[in-house]
Amino acid sequence: MDYFAQQLINGLVLGSIYGLIAIGYTMVYGIVGMINFAHGDIFMIGGFIALITFLILVSIGLTAVPLILLVVLLVAMAITSLYGWTIERIAYRPLRHSFRLAPMLSAIGMSFVLTNFSQVAQGARVKPVPPIITGGYTLHEGVDGFSIRVSNIQIIVVITTVVLLALFTYLVARTRLGRDMRACEQDQKMASLLGVDVDRTISFTFVIGAALAAVAGMMYLLYYGLVDFFMGFVAGIKAFTAAVLGGIGSLPGAMLGGLLIGLIETLWSAYFSTEYKDVAAFSILIVVLIFMPTGLLGRPEVEKV
């Protein structure tokens, strides 16, 4: 039982990271109707930028951990969201009214560009970082010597996710920008007739998605203590799986899907085999799509003839 509870905690943390990435997929899909294949690589870039900022801050003699974390978070979010903006501007905007395969291939191309850009710029080797945040709490001392532990970093990941999610929900539900986003999601032409700047709104969507992916990248860096240029691909597919599982286009769905995928992956590795954990995640994607094509919280698609 203790073992299960421990895995549950680990899965929750991993799921939070997936959920943060999944939000970017689901928002872009909701508004533009395309799979942003480069989003996983944006996550990877976010991890790299967090790593580099962290290194620089440490080398100039900053020691206060909360301050370092805050600066790293802000820098990573700022630069990564500029990546998101640039990619939309270069690769997707010219193809917005083109036929639907074109932006998808453009996105795949962009994903190759980002992966190989960071390989060329930062080298192919895995970049480890020493643990920045240590310590934790023992929740429950087991009789057989196995105790449930929550590390501080796990707490930080979950709290950051919750705070960001709250901010983000507020943004979408209460602000002018959020209203524009929802309007564009329903009908771009009508929204533009009513004075919504569609281009700007779509740009903002990409920027917000990239900023959340950057947070996920930083959390990944803190949690696992390493980044490499190829980590965006698998994380990207899993996050997309999460978005589909929760119902694409639905924001709470993306978070729920992320948590479920994180839990499934962790429990599968804990009880069955680590080699096939990705197979499990992908199989679930297939099963969900067969029996529930709209996902858990998605709206059914109405087919008009």
């Binding site: 395309m34 799979i35 870039i45 790299f48 930028i49 790593l51 580099i52 900022t53 290194l55 620089i56 820098v75 630069i79 500029l82 640039t86 270069i90 690769a91 193809l95 036929f99 639907r100 395969l101 074109a102 998808m104 291939l105 453009s106 795949i108 191309g109 962009m110 190759f112 560009v113 980002l114 992966t115 190989n116 960071s118 060329v120 710029a121 930062q122 080298g123 192919a124 080797r125 895995v126 970049k127 480890p128 970082v129 020493p130 691909f233 597919i237 997309f240 799986t241 589909v244 096939y276 990705d278 197979v279 992908f282 199989s283 994607l285 297939i286 799509l289 067969i290 094509p293 087919e303």
Partner: protein, 440 residues
């Protein structure tokens, strides 16, 4: 500044201030984007400690490149005029072009057959030719699924892998010959195509794409982890080379060279492989062209255009989709078996998502459904890819950029119009802007 002011004299009506402003903004964006990724290089030291050093020279060079590139693009744009401009060509040029278009297919075909004769001593060109033809065949195979039936498949490499592993396992375990295994590899791949097809029958568009992508990854992960059968990451080596219908291409007494009484040369095998893949690819092409005229081919194209209308007309969409998946997969399986026998060694590394994306890029760039376009796109992409062989990692970077730029330049592919399969009175090519494929 100098570039901008001199160019303004050449082209009239150029807004220098606008171009300059745009270039400055681009350069600033580039400065922020690359500040950390290029300006600082990190590396793990020998003791696992991360170190970093700065590369401000490279950063400045990149920013300058972006600045210059931005000006250049704006100048090109001004020179080209608005995108919608209709360019009127003189009738003689149009006639010459249409003649060249008609002559292209026979010329290419004859050239393909003559390549081993012309380049007999150029091993590199022959190898490259085999590679290009393999991708032409894969492109034609995927074209059935994506171009004709309009089912977006991002996991085509799975069938390629199934074909390759089927041949490798059958040949190394039972010692069966290539010619016995080739149909079996195709059948097995087709079986996997149906296996994938069944669950995804109800899905469309992007959902279909992501499920096929997941399927491709599952196949690769299983190949990677099922150590006892597939050898895991070490792959399968010592796969038998193909024989010319039972006659081995070896220097031995029973080899082809000894039988014909000519001196043995390793090039014989390369030439044989070249013709083998050429024939396989042409069979794929021939089968596709014939299938398009059968009811099933018509049903595929109808399905691509409108699934609801298809059902209303009484077309069985289940069988239509399954046959498209199965036949497309079968040709992928053939290509896989060929790949295995050519390499003599296969491992899961050869069957990554990158391959699927490459083949899909070939199909889409070729113009979705156009057989000639696919062949030209394969030649351009694989050949272009080879040009950058010396650049190592930059190669993929350039490939990705090329994919983005080509999509922006020609979203409809190189050959963006197509001849209808059925027509009244006269056959007239229609622009593929009027065709709705890829939505199903």
């Amino acid at each position: 500044m100098a570039t901008a002011s001199t160019s303004s004299k050449i082209t009239r009506g150029l807004d220098v201030a606008f171009i300059f402003k745009k270039a400055v903004i681009s350069a600033l964006v580039a400065l922020v984007l690359f500040s950390l990724m290029i300006g600082v290089r990190t590396e793990a030291g020998s003791d696992g400690q991360l170190t970093y050093w700065t590369r401000f020279g490279d950063l400045a060079a990149m920013v300058a490149t972006v600045f210059g590139g931005s000006i250049l693009i704006e100048l090109l744009r001004a020179w080209w005029g608005p995108v919608e401009t209709v360019r009127v060509m003189p009738p003689s040029a149009t006639r010459a072009l249409s003649f060249a278009g008609r002559a292209l297919v026979p010329v290419l075909l004859i050239f393909a057959f003559l390549v081993p004769v012309i380049f007999y001593n150029e091993r590199y060109i022959l190898d490259l030719g085999i590679l290009v033809l393999t991708y032409v065949m894969l492109g034609w195979g995927l074209n059935i699924v994506v171009g004709l039936a309009g089912l977006l498949d991002l996991g085509y490499v799975a069938f390629y892998a199934v074909g390759a592993y089927s041949y490798a396992l059958l040949a190394t375990t039972f010692g069966w010959s290539f010619w016995m295994c080739l149909p079996l590899a195709g059948i097995l791949a087709a079986f996997f195509g149906i296996l994938l097809g069944f669950p995804v029958l109800r899905l469309r568009g992007d959902y279909l794409a992501i499920v096929t992508l997941a399927f491709g990854e599952i196949i690769r992960l299983v190949l990677l982890n099922w150590q006892s059968l597939t050898g895991g990451p070490n792959g399968i080596s010592g796969i038998p080379r193909p024989t010319m219908f039972g006659i081995p291409l070896t220097p031995g007494d029973d080899g082809l060279a000894a039988m014909l009484g000519i001196e043995f040369s390793p090039t014989h095998r390369i030439v044989f492989l070249f013709y083998l893949i050429l024939v396989l690819a042409l069979i794929t092409n021939w089968a596709t062209i014939r299938l398009r005229r059968l009811p099933i081919g018509r049903a595929w194209e109808a399905l691509r255009e409108d699934e609801v209308a298809c059902r209303a007309l009484g077309i069985n969409t289940t069988t239509t989709k399954l046959t498209a998946f199965a036949i497309g997969a079968m040709f992928g399986g053939f290509a896989g078996a060929f790949f295995a026998t050519r390499q003599g060694f296969i491992s899961p590394e050869s069957f990554t998502f990158h391959e699927s994306a490459l083949v899909l890029a070939i199909v889409v760039l070729g113009g979705m459904g156009s057989q000639l376009g696919v062949a030209l796109a394969a030649l351009a992409l694989i050949g272009g890819f080879e040009l950058f062989r010396g650049l190592e990692h930059f190669r993929m970077l350039v490939f990705g950029m090329a994919m983005v730029l080509l999509m922006i330049w020609r979203p409809r592919g190189l050959i963006g119009h197509r001849a209808p399969t059925v027509y009244l009175e006269r056959n007239q090519a229609i622009s593929s802007d009027l065709v709705k494929e890829g939505s199903g």
